[in-house]
Amino acid sequence: MNLERLPNEEKLILCRKYYLGGFAFLPFLWLVNVVWFFREAFVKPAYTEQLQIKAYVKWSAVGLLFWVAVLTTWITIFQHFRAQWGEVGDSLSFTIPLGTP
């Protein structure tokens, strides 16, 4: 899909849908939103809908950063303390590495 060929209203609708969709635990969707609409929002010369698209891109970025922070924290905690948690750690684990922790 080429954004160039879309009329501005449709761009806005698409951006909004991607933004709203990200709330369903989909930070990747927010990432795609940010990357895809970045040029539209910040680089292109202004047009009517651009303000709203900018807002959506910004808030998608905020959401993305939030998720990145949460995931990084959780992964760090898990990797560090997994061995110490014993049984709980094992039940949380999707894959358990071989060898001594």
């Binding site: 080429n2 369903a24 989909l26 990747f28 990357v35 959780w74 898990f78 999707f94 894959t95």
Partner: protein, 473 residues
Amino acid sequence: MANNAEDVENNFMQGQPESAAGPEPRQQQQQQQEGGTRLRTRGGSGVGRGEGGGPEQNGHPPAARPAVQEAEEDEDEEMTLKYGAKHVIMLFVPVTLCMAVVVATIKSVGFYTRKDGQRLIYTPFPEDTDTVGQRAVNSILNATIMITVIIVMTLVLVLLYKYRCYKVIHGWLFLSSLFLLFFFSYIYLQEVFKTYNVAMDYFTVVIVIWNFGVVGMMCIHWKGPLRLQQAYLIMISALMALVFIKYLPEWTAWLILAVISVYDLLAVLCPKGPLRILVETAQERNEPIFPALIYSSTMVWLVNMADTGGPRRESAEETQEAAAPEPAESPPPLSSPQDDGGFTPSWVSQQEHQLGQLQSTEETRRQIQQMPSARPPAEEDEEERGVKLGLGDFIFYSMLVGKAAASGDWNTTLACFVAILIGLCLTLLLLAIFKKALPALPISIFFGLVFYFATDNLVRPFMDKLALHQFYI
């Protein structure tokens, strides 16, 4: 697995009257178009030639339009010859990427080469038999079953299409891609983590798979950035190829590759072939079929000035194919460009004829089609024309190279890789010459098989001996 009936997409130029005069007068100020993306057909050539200028015309300066007929014929030949380089590259890259992913996985993750004794229900006969003869018989039976399944699925698809059960087809495709995107990538991720001995918790994995899957479904079935869509298609083709490599026994796999190439050839080119029927039906109805498993390198944009004045998007939507349980059918075809009208009346009639064909053409997974482009004369429209290749082709190419990699030798792997690319080149060349949908499997797979067995049995021992004796040539 099953290559379903796929529509043979007749090049929209087929049957088009030689209204060469039509496009000529239209001197459109178009953007320079790269030579490689020129249309190959007459009318299209006319269109293509209408814009763009000298530099693309083999270095001839952008002179005033010469006499229509001669110019067209000359340029037609130029077109035919010029077409290809860019498109070939546009297809090389994804095919190479897919193969690279498969080879990398095979070489690093042991899961896909380990025979766990599991088989698909489509290949019930085991290959670890006592005698070679028994093994041969079993593999032939397995291959027969597979091909029968594929043929049946193809016919079912054609029937569904003929009787307008679109919802069923859409649902089928949707479920298939869902399964592929979620389940197989889950397994893949698990195996990769096991290989690299990494601990991972359920929470993260669920989030990752959920994101991957949902965004994948959106990109493939709905709207998404083109690059991401292409990336997803490559990934799912690779996943599917890996499944095949794991679950098909040795001899069965090779036999299936050979037989499927033959089937592809027959289905696409024979008048009674299911794919052909599908295409013709689509053409009669003048409609795009359904989101299909086609990889498209770019999108074509058609602008309709007649009614809406706004551009209508036409996207080659690729959907994912069926998951393993129902062995893959690759339902076919892709939604062709919508029929937008043209601008001036002469343009309109010309374009509509072209576009009419365009719209009804389908692509099957195994066909390469060049997408025609419609150029709006009045606009500086970048026409993006792409070449399309069905996902089934990706899958079987990658499967061949993956099996070569699994057997261990890099010589063999590279030889098969080169063979497939050569086959792809030749197929594109034929496409340029014949200007209609062609099966992409036969030539490449044939070369691939020849190279595999030749390299494995002739070159490898030779190289090994040389290395043993430290004799460098």
